[in-house]
Subunit: 337 residues, 2 copies
Amino acid sequence: MARSASGRPVTIIEVAKQAGVSISTVSRVMNGNHHVDPEIAGRVRAVAAELRYSASPLARSLVLGRTQRVAIMVPDLENPTFQSVLRGLTRAAAKDNYHVLVADSLETAGEETTLASEARRCCDAIVLCAPRMPEDQLRALLPELAPVVLINRESPYVLAPTLTADYEAGIQPLARHLHQLGHRRIAYLEGNPDSASNTQRLSGLARFGAEHPDADVIGIPCGVTFEHGHAAADAVIASGATGVLGFNDLVAMGLLSALNERGVRVPEQLSLTGFDDIPFAKYMTPPLTTASVPVVELGEEAWKRLHALLSGEKPDHDLSFRPRIEVRGSTGPAPAP
Amino acid sequence: MARSASGRPVTIIEVAKQAGVSISTVSRVMNGNHHVDPEIAGRVRAVAAELRYSASPLARSLVLGRTQRVAIMVPDLENPTFQSVLRGLTRAAAKDNYHVLVADSLETAGEETTLASEARRCCDAIVLCAPRMPEDQLRALLPELAPVVLINRESPYVLAPTLTADYEAGIQPLARHLHQLGHRRIAYLEGNPDSASNTQRLSGLARFGAEHPDADVIGIPCGVTFEHGHAAADAVIASGATGVLGFNDLVAMGLLSALNERGVRVPEQLSLTGFDDIPFAKYMTPPLTTASVPVVELGEEAWKRLHALLSGEKPDHDLSFRPRIEVRGSTGPAPAP
DNA sequence: GTGAAAGCGCTAACAA
DNA sequence: TTGTTAGCGCTTTCAC
């Protein structure tokens, strides 16, 4: 884009004038319409290039009814998980010439509806990432948000493509891994009690418990951040557990740091696992045993479905990613009793 | 927003019809113009609420010449530094009812110009975060991008508000800290040679070297990611340095991880510092000594200036944040020779 | 193959 | 105080 003499961006009218044609012809040329005399088309292109003209996306959006832009709402832009989803979405969308608009709800469920509606209105579609709002609200909202894709939030009545990580399935190999190492008293650091992903982990652990009657799984209220994990250290130690399943990597890392301060050695005295496999997990000391969730792919798959929806095609099937266990140095044999 | 019977969003015309007034009156009411009969205004509001009408942002953008949206271009959405800048910007802008559009250049300097121009065109302003493009290109681009704010890229001829971290000043206390601990042979893991922030660190180190003739500072080509730091381990060990200044925290963490694998103890055998103080730094084992850069604030201050520019006000002065040294466990006395 | 003209949905100047 | 109307910059019928 360049500015014309008036200081404002060059418009189609100026190009038309300079090229001695009508604006429709310019429009046709710019949009690659082939029913234009090649010689004229060349002239128009030359003028457009000289004036550094490109059509106003605003005006195009209005008349075409699409913006080439999608929104994503996340609960917390500080969380590496959502950052990765954003990244996956942004990069995939960019390949199809779409831009991404970010909306951060700051974990305030009350604002989500307004925020999503508003973000959606200036875009062609929206991705809802782990929305916290109550089920009935979500259900009421979805129709007016369409096209919409849901990430990490299943809803029994969803009418939208849904992508999830299977936390219930994912946490079981972690627990079994500790069990195989001889741990019998295992603590689970709980996340946000309202979140679906915490509930899923709990049912995974219930299943593990049923299969391993010799194991004790103790729930310890904790949270989802470094600080939460750090603060849970005393409760963990008091619990007498020899193995700890953190709600996520952040919690595990916070706990690890607190254990270090207290001189508790990992994994010699205590084994510890995280969840998500954020980029930092494998660089911890010791590297964190965790379950890897392909969050970037979650974003990419979301784009695929959005793109299909926008093209009037049928989106691919819903997907539930099975987390893959990554055994690293933070877990080891249970200490002799 | 709701859809009318036609399936398309409700427009101002339908509201006007239902309320028995002209569209201008509806427009006035929706925009809080007080020169409207209170009774009529009430009726309009009632109809608007019933129809769940809200004005099309697209149409408003076109006629008002503003989108209530700003863009940010970052070199790499994977880097915690840029994630934090994005977060600061997004949250600050949200308070003023602005949205943020993300453009990730994937570290390809060649694409930056196009990407920035395009992103800018569907927004009211743009933030350029550490652009990699050559000086002359940047200078040519800035006028057409205005209003624009630069982050971490000074340009001798800039006509745009600029926010930076003072890497030259920031690295010196880190080097002095190592010196005070008795380190005399100090390695610096270099970042991208083209980046301004690497050059600045180098001049800071040159100054340190001049003030401390008894110290040897050895540059080691490295990079900016975990992997780069990890790969530099052998070169670091071969250098015989007892203290290492990583280009940033990522590099330091990567190196730390590699040192662990090799059984080199930090800080007993080797002291190590990072740069940036990303959220993970203090949870490393040992916690990383680093220089903290207030990246979220960088994003917030960028918004302040953008907002001023958009309001036709004079933006605040340029700012250079002086990094603050955070002494933690990764540095200690130099081992006896 | 080309141009004139009708919108896309809205705001704001101008009239009444 | 209210309505009429001219755009914002573009695409797309519809005549020619």
